[in-house]
Symmetry: C2
Subunit: 497 residues, 2 copies
């Protein structure tokens, strides 16, 4: 018996409960909380954050990690992987000294405030001082994490979201996309222009009916409502904890398609959370592998499954029934045309799957340059607009629609953006392997039965938690490491055939 390891499990289980409390309170803030409660909620979350940090930074925990690592022969595979994740959590949490943590926290508060007012005003200069401070401190944090993790600085920031890929590997994948995608996109848009435009279903579609529709589709996909909910928030997200997975969407009464697809996207995240290994759910190794795999699950359900002609053939009459719609606008082929429209634009979150990768390639290149010190914060708008023109073919009319659109950098979340597109690549690769391995998956979608797909995902991805990395999971499930091949094939099949 490795006593130190046993004690570590006990401590990390308590930590998981406290982080679960944070998660529910964060969900409540976005979904339920009255506006006047922002200050008291911030106090609650800060107090919990301090408790969690203190428990990880506790010198006793470091001693326990050292002791447990002396005696790994007594650990099974899950335990050994769990111990490695504990160490990684500890490294991330203790890499920054107290002064830097405090400085970053204050800078983030200032930066969010400055961004919140600068964005609607499209006033980058008003955001710049706070942004410069965030970049300086994030570069310091990158250096500290680089030392702690033995990685390059930007890679060390990425590590919090994806730990099995390097900046160089991501550059190679993204350079390939920047070359391979424009021809597909151009041909897809030309083909689309040659067809009649899809019909826009005429609303209004009351939020309550859209919600009923969303819940019906979630149930079809395998969402367990005994352990989760659907609610409304300003931006769709997946929150809550294992055993209580809460997704949100927003309703546009004049366009139900955005809400339906947001629900399916978050359902993909939720199925991953609901499928984590129950025996390890409160331990680091029982968490989702990382953000690449998380995004792969949401995009697999949304982009690969829900936007497929197979599923839309089944769903069209359900959508019409739940929303009280009728006529050609609600026919499966029209809904599929709506779900696969392609159009360039300035805003990432509105981008279709053919344009989305360009937004991510742009951000990844720019943030790597910012962290390397090769791009000065003041030069961001120019660099952004130049890259947009080159990659997407549009130039933002102002910085609100340009470099001020996302909250990620204002909160100091460098290293996160690439996982959106890495997830898209993984989704395509997993879906191709799944449908090749189980011939009932596509016919299943055609009869509204996600069970064959979900069974494959549970077996190949969900049940492994964080025991394997992105690359390990992909190699085991698909026979190959992450590549752009399946994604390119998917786009060509969907948009060019």
């Amino acid at each position: 018996m490795n006593q130190a390891y046993v004690e570590l499990e006990r401590r990390f289980a308590a930590l998981d409960a406290l982080k679960g409390a944070q998660a529910v309170l964060s969900w409540d803030r976005e979904v339920m909380m009255p506006g006047g409660a922002a200050a008291s909620r911030a106090e609650q979350l800060a107090a919990l954050g301090q408790v969690c940090h203190a428990r990880i930074a506790d010198p006793e925990l470091a001693d326990l990690l050292d002791a447990a690592e002396q005696d790994t022969a007594k650990l099974d595979d899950w335990q050994a992987a769990n111990l490695a994740h504990m160490r990684r959590t500890w490294r991330h949490e203790t890499a920054l000294d107290a002064r830097l943590v405090e400085a970053l926290s204050r800078a983030q508060s200032r930066s969010i405030e400055a961004w919140s007012s600068a964005r609607p005003a499209a006033d980058f200069s008003a955001f710049l001082p706070a942004f410069q401070e965030i970049v300086v401190l994030s570069r310091e944090a990158a250096a500290a994490k680089a030392a702690a993790l033995g990685k390059a600085p930007w890679d060390a920031l990425l590590d919090a979201y994806e730990d099995s890929l390097t900046g160089e590997q991501i550059d190679a994948l993204f350079d390939r996309l920047a070359t391979a995608l424009p021809p597909i996109r151009d041909r897809a848009m030309a083909a689309q222009a040659a067809r009649p435009a899809p019909l826009q279903p005429k609303g209004p579609f009351p939020a309550e009916r859209q919600k009923n529709l969303g819940e019906r589709l979630m149930a079809l996909a395998g969402f367990d409502f005994g352990h989760g909910r659907l609610d409304t928030s300003a931006h769709p997200f997946t929150g809550g904890v294992f055993g209580d997975v809460r997704i949100t969407t927003r309703f546009d009464e004049h366009d139900f398609t955005s809400s339906v697809m947001a629900v399916m996207h978050e359902t993909g995240h939720a199925l991953y959370e609901q499928g984590r290994p129950a025996d390890w759910a409160a331990q680091p190794v029982g968490e989702a592998a990382n953000m690449t795999m998380h995004e792969s699950q949401s995009l697999l359900v949304e982009m690969q499954a829900a936007r497929s002609p197979q599923f839309l053939a089944f769903a069209a009459p359900i959508i019409a029934q739940e929303l009280g719609g009728q006529g050609p606008a609600f026919r499966a082929d029209n809904l599929h045309a709506l779900a696969t429209r392609v159009a360039p634009g300035c805003i990432r979150v509105d981008a279709d799957e053919l344009h989305y990768p360009f937004h991510i390639v742009l951000r990844t290149r720019l943030e790597r340059a910012l962290i390397a010190g090769d791009l000065a914060p003041a030069d961001l708008p120019g660099a952004w607009n130049e890259a947009m023109a080159e990659l997407v073919g549009v130039t933002p009319p102002d910085d609100r629609l340009g470099c001020l659109q996302d909250i990620h950098w204002p909160i100091g979340a460098f290293g996160y953006f690439p996982t959106y597109t890495l997830g898209a690549l993984a989704a395509a690769q997993l879906f191709a392997a799944a449908t090749a391995q189980d011939g009932d998956i596509l016919p299943g979608l055609e009869r509204g039965d996600f069970a064959p797909l979900l069974t494959w995902l549970r077996h190949n991805i969900h049940r492994h938690g964080a025991r394997q990395s992105t690359q390990e999971l992909l190699i085991a499930a698909t026979g190959a490491p992450l590549s752009t091949q399946a994604f390119e094939a998917h786009l060509a099949r969907r948009y060019l055939d």
Copy 2:
């Protein structure tokens, strides 16, 4: 500067944030949480409870209390009262040794489980073993708290809910009620029998419309929706934190009166919470004074104000409008007759204000005997039924409608029951003083304007937080300590005039 006191304020503010997190998670459990999440929520609340307990039991905190108490000359009145409440919190939290805390916690879990299945089956014998354990441990706890607080054992349990009254004083008040109320009740029921029965408005009244009505009445009463919400739960309660006060109700589609009055009751609790002193809201002295005063505020708004002929004259057309009702059943006099119906019954929570005190007198007498060791748990059903027959004039047909009806004792909450009726006495005493001091309060209710009443309550009760006790607040606001006089006068006026 009393440095120890300053550090105590810092620590108690952090504790308030953690307890706030618990409060929001507890609200969520009753209102939002999917059924399958019970286990993970219990882990979260237990982990938070351990953090809070450890912070109060921290030997450093005891040293700080000692040091701060050496130097009270430097504290102003609020600070001195705050320090006294910190000490009282510490005494309650540290009075029981770790073994007893653990034993109580386990016994409560077993007892709640046993009670939950024994109650629907009306099977007291199935509950008895767990109940015996709870009583034994609660007597131990009473002895330990008695030593820590310098009070009699049952008084020491009462102290957690009401600290300015003794068991003897409560016995005297309740003996007076047991003598004074039966003649009023008998005459009220005779008078009621001589009148035609009120008309029952014909439903169904959809929950959504009842909720809109509830929110409209809450707004009239002064509830601040920027800092609170109304939701639905199995049992109405007031939860949340300062700045985020959340009340709940339940809707019977065939009887809106119960929901309307439950909303007004919880609104009374909520107005107290929303009116606590903002500068001290995160400190012990800024909390509500105690449960007697809390119940006085809910009963004042419900029983004194909302069930008054003045308010119902104003509210009747609003109720009819919001519920789409019409005809004589929605006339003010009929709604008032419905709101003041009197009928004996076995169940406390269904009792009218003339019968409710008997239920509390019974429980108080029996739990004092249980804690004193004068009543054996096994003898509870007999003692209960005998007292019901004597006080209320009915004999429960089984223990489900008798001694198994309440959750208080199964969770070990001895000392809580009396505050319901102490609150009713205080409500009548405060309302009589308020209407005597401000001649615009009753005319205000008649025009749907709670502002004069709320101003009086804010000034005389809410803004003082816990700086003054029940007796101090009542003497300052009404010129006399708590008595049954105003309550008796109120009942005679309402039911006999």
